[in-house]
Amino acid sequence: MTHADRFCLTKAFQNMSHRLRPSQYAILVAIMLTASVGDTLLSHGMSQVGPVDLHHLWLLFHALANPFIIAGIVLLIGFFASYMTALSWADLTFVMPSTAFGYVVVALLSRFWLHEHLSIYRWTGILLIVCAVGFVAGGPSRTEHETTQHELDIMDSGAGR
């Protein structure tokens, strides 16, 4: 295989890796949902526990008995695992705006589930974040750095099998 052939193959491989698989979209959706619902559960749980000041931090341990706090912590562990998985195949500057959609989920939950009033500022904020997600979703998810000779050799050995 000539060097030019290998170059074309590498480029084709890189373009393929820019497109997300359905399971990878599912991870991004999981990040949005676990972060927003987890925060909402923690906030609801802490409102039941009551205020904790800096001199009585041990009161936080009582919060661990609250079912909403436990559910919130479980969801946030799920969030951290999905977030790290996403960072293993996508750029930080791709994952960040995509998952900012979680803010929109919280705002919509508070409007339609908790029946809170959303001002024109908040609707504008929601619109801006949705636009931001649209911008990055249309572009590649990962920056590919120049392929090293070693990686080309590995691809070669795979192609020759």
Binding site: L54, L87, W89, M96, L128, A132, P140
Partner: protein, 129 residues
Amino acid sequence: MHADHLLRTWSCILGVATLAIVGEVLIAAAMRRLGDLDLIRERSGLTGTIRAVLSSPLFLAGALCMALNFFAMLFTLSVVDLSLAAPAIGSLTYVGNAAAAKVFLRENVDSRRWLAVLFVCVGVVLLTK
């Protein structure tokens, strides 16, 4: 007195944002170096994946920064109003992450991504109104 208060408020906000940026960039660098976690899980199972992540020094340093960030955030909320702290820290973290990803992770932050970062920042500030 007023200048002192202003200085303390903004040092807290900058401190929390800096810890968040350093933590996120270190964790992103660790994950990029480890490679696709889905593939590692197929090869060596969930325990193998957790072991691979936990044995990465970059990840451990990043996790330490995130833990410090959590406590710094608690302290900041005791001296700064939430209505100022949350949007200021959120927006600064977004812009700082984009800049740090370009410089340290050599990510291709094109105009499309900068525009997205800007829109998210303004959107986050508007959501807290």
